[in-house]
Amino acid sequence: MGSDRMKKKREKNHEWMRLLMEDIMRLSREKDSPLSVEDVMEDSSVDRQEVKEAIERLEKRGLAKFERGHLALTEQGEKVADVIYNYHRVIEEVLGHEVAHALEHFSEAAEKIKILGEKAKPLEKFRENERGVVAYFEIGNPKVISKLLGIGLSPGVSFRVIKYRKDGFVLEVGGRLVVLGRELGKGIAGVSMS
């Protein structure tokens, strides 16, 4: 979800973040036991906030898990870390392009995630009569998400855009008509099936 402010900040720090993530993975591989936030702060001489941000990114990409104050690499994370550890040159490529791009070599699941990430588009980009499958929500308010799930629009469910209205969209979901306000056009991402 994340606010716009955070997103901008992240983009600005993209390069720097990449290096920090790389450091964390390398350190984790070197130490061979769960890392604490303090370990990273000391090793890379960075502040707590930056470490948290990097960890969050690693978790989002399924490379690491942060539990009870300690960071452990996931199976995929281990593999990536191996690559980082052994072939420094490859890293540029691995984390330079979308990480998911590199991960396709490692697991089938990552392939699916990649397809979703690349092919999903916001609801407002769907044409009338176009079919799609809900991929994910970018909506801040949990009440709205719960209502969307309640009317049957959950990730993985297929829908069809019936009609564009001035104030929203008419969708077909599970054989029922559902009307959504225009504001939701950006918050629901789907993969086209047409």
């Binding site: 019936i162 008419v170 054989g175 029922r176 009307v179």
Partner: protein, 625 residues
């Protein structure tokens, strides 16, 4: 044994309750709130079963007041088992709720309604498999055809569901930490921990403590999307479970009715549809309501006449109090009940047939221009009948700010008593053109006010998410029960208020407390509104009860031929000032109940100044022309 009936909106919970328990449905307020809950009891196999209906919810994540009630009733755990009513045509999304209930660990029976309709559409549910996977009894019912024997036969077989699901590691870690700090025996600790983690306000109030909030806070730091993750995971499991038990035999390609194509897909169709519904509702309210009002009014008049000899013999003050409280009671029965009762019946009819959500959707665009959600049309329409239940009906909106906004708009929505002034005083004595003029000014003021309120009350409305249920044939008995549930609080709250209002009026008239006001308000009446000085009396009485205005005007002027004393322009302004007013004292009482004394008082004072302001502006403008 006590059973809660739980389910999504429009799945037929109340119909099932009515069918099982017969007409013996009790309506009561849920303690601490004013959401109505109906219940009924029946003896099955020598054991007494009490069934409690809960407001329909899409999930247990509370957003509106009604959903909070359902949530609280479930979390309190003061029942033996839950009966979840499921719409078989859309099993998957109903199963989300099933998973949520399963987490809480109470015994459950799943009831499939509308299964014939589902079969007709080629949706075949493997009931045996569903029963095996959920671990609790699954029975089919059809309350409309009064078929629910299987439910009665297996009513004692409720079992805690065997549905299990695991969330992401970080969620599970948080759940196990929170679980240790919980102290409850009624419900599963895991289920409550998950609800707390989801940020559920009801669960937080009932089970939360600082330590738990600290844990949740520390997890949210790294996983800000934890609520969404939980909900999406659960929905995913529901979809998978649906796929395991549902087989779609012929293509699920649904054919939408020509009506939907027209109403939802074309602007013009939507406009015609909403206009049609409006006309339908108002013609019925006008003719049927008017006729009922005449009948009931005549009955009360003759009743009062018969009391006349007794009233003359008693003490003046007591006589005046008794007489006026009876007038208040009579007004409640003969004016409010016909309009409000019929309106609620029509509302239930629109709801049960599926017309209501289409109506809300087609008006959404216009209502958005007013800065309020589409649903606000219901209280606003009701406001044309009586402001008192309309204030209460603002509960249908989920945001408090939206509710307050709509309540403030009632200044410019003439209720039936104000309509009576417009027709009876202005239309009759100054001409129909003037009466129509008042409506035109009201609509203009309504639009301007709504726009201005939008600047002051900033609300971020929840976006429109409206499901269009299939058209269904309504059942008369269910409509009557529904209308009565909604009307009951009107009868129990408003009618006493009307009686008190009448007595207050009797007191004031007995001690002649009105005259001192007259001089005080001269600046307003004579200089700003250019009305005869005495007209302030009916205006002041209008605060108590709008129905008294015409009678008091003839008192004040000394004649019922208003046109002989006031010019048509003055009559028009008088009508305008009586229309653009804060509603009567009874409506004020309802505002206090719903929004608190401070806000209501502010609304009242501002409304008075505001109405005077507009009436004066229109007055001066017309005089200048």
């Amino acid at each position: 044994m006590t059973a809660l009936l739980v389910g999504q909106p429009n799945v037929g919970k109340s119909a099932l309750l009515n069918a099982i328990t017969g007409a013996k449905v009790m309506i009561s307020n849920y303690p601490g709130t004013t959401v109505d809950v109906s219940s009924g009891s029946v003896v099955i196999g020598g054991e007494k079963y009490v069934f409690i209906d809960t407001p329909g919810v899409y999930s247990l994540t509370a957003s509106s007041e009604e959903e909070k009630v359902t949530n609280e009733m479930i979390l309190k755990g003061e029942y033996d088992f839950i009966i979840q009513v499921i719409d078989a045509t859309v099993l998957g999304k109903n199963l989300i709720l099933t998973y949520q209930l399963a987490e809480l660990g109470k015994p459950l029976i799943l009831v499939l309604n509308f299964h014939e309709e589902a079969e007709k559409r080629g949706i075949n549910i493997d009931v045996v498999r569903l029963e095996k996977l959920t671990g609790c009894p699954v029975v089919k019912v059809n309350p409309l055809k009064r078929r629910f024997e299987e439910l009665l036969k297996r009513i004692d077989k409720a079992t805690p569901p065997a549905l299990k699901m695991t969330y992401d590691d970080h969620i599970e870690a948080a759940v196990s930490e929170i679980k240790k700090l919980l102290d409850t025996s009624e419900l599963s600790k895991r289920g409550i921990a998950i609800k707390l983690l989801e940020g559920d306000p009801v669960a937080a109030r009932m089970f939360g403590n600082d330590e738990i909030f600290r844990i949740i806070g520390s997890y949210k730091q790294y996983h800000p999307d934890i609520e969404q993750d939980i909900m999406v995971t659960r929905a995913g499991h529901a979809v998978i479970l649906e796929e395991k038990v549902v087989e779609v035999s012929h293509s699920r390609k649904s054919r939408f009715s020509w009506l939907d194509r027209l109403v939802i897909n074309t602007t013009l169709g939507g406009a015609f549809f909403s206009l049609g519904v409006f006309v339908f509702v108002f013609v019925i309210l006008f003719y049927l309501g008017g006729w009922l009002q005449d009948v009931l009014g005549a009955f009360f008049d003759s009743f009062l006449q018969s009391l006349e000899p007794w009233l003359e013999r008693t003490n003046d003050l007591i006589g005046s109090l008794v007489e006026n409280s009876l007038i208040g009671f009579g007004a409640g029965i003969s004016i409010a009940v016909p309009y409000v009762g019929i309106f609620y019946f029509l509302l239930a009819l629109m709801e049960d047939t599926g017309i209501l959500s289409r109506f809300i959707v087609s008006l959404n665009n216009i209502m958005r221009k007013f800065g309020v959600p589409g649903r606000a049309i219901i209280p606003m329409m009701l406001g044309l009948g009586c402001t008192v239940p309309a204030v209460r009906a603002t509960r249908l909106l989920s945001g408090f700010k939206d509710r307050l906004k709509v309540a403030a708009l009632f200044i410019a929505i003439p209720c039936s008593s104000r309509n009576a002034i417009i027709f009876g005083v202005v239309g009759h004595h100054a001409g129909m053109a003037y009466a129509i003029g008042i409506y035109v000014v009201s609509i203009m003021v309504l639009i301007i006010t709504a726009r201005m309120l939008g600047l002051f009350i900033k609300s971020k409305p929840i976006p429109l998410i409206e499901e269009l249920p299939p058209y269904r044939r309504p059942v008369l008995k269910n409509l009557v029960v529904k209308a009565w549930i909604r009307m009951s609080d009107f009868v129990y709250i408003v009618i006493p208020l009307l009686i008190i209002g009448g007595m207050l009026y009797g007191l004031l008239s007995h001690y002649n407390l009105i005259n001192p006001f007259v001089k005080f308000f001269d600046n307003l009446t004579v200089k700003w509104l250019n009305l005869p000085s005495g007209t302030i009396i009916p205006i002041i009485y209008g605060f108590l009860q709008k129905d008294l205005v015409p009678a008091m005007l003839s008192n004040a002027l000394g004649t019922s031929d208003f046109a002989s004393i006031m010019t048509p322009h003055q009559i028009f302004i008088f009508g305008l000032v009586s229309t653009l007013q804060i509603p009567c004292i009874i409506a004020f009482g309802m505002l206090v109940r719903e929004f608190g004394i401070r806000r209501s008082f502010l609304l009242w004072i501002l409304g008075f100044i505001y109405g005077m302001f507009w009436s004066g502006i229109v007055n001066k403008l017309l005089l200048a022309l």
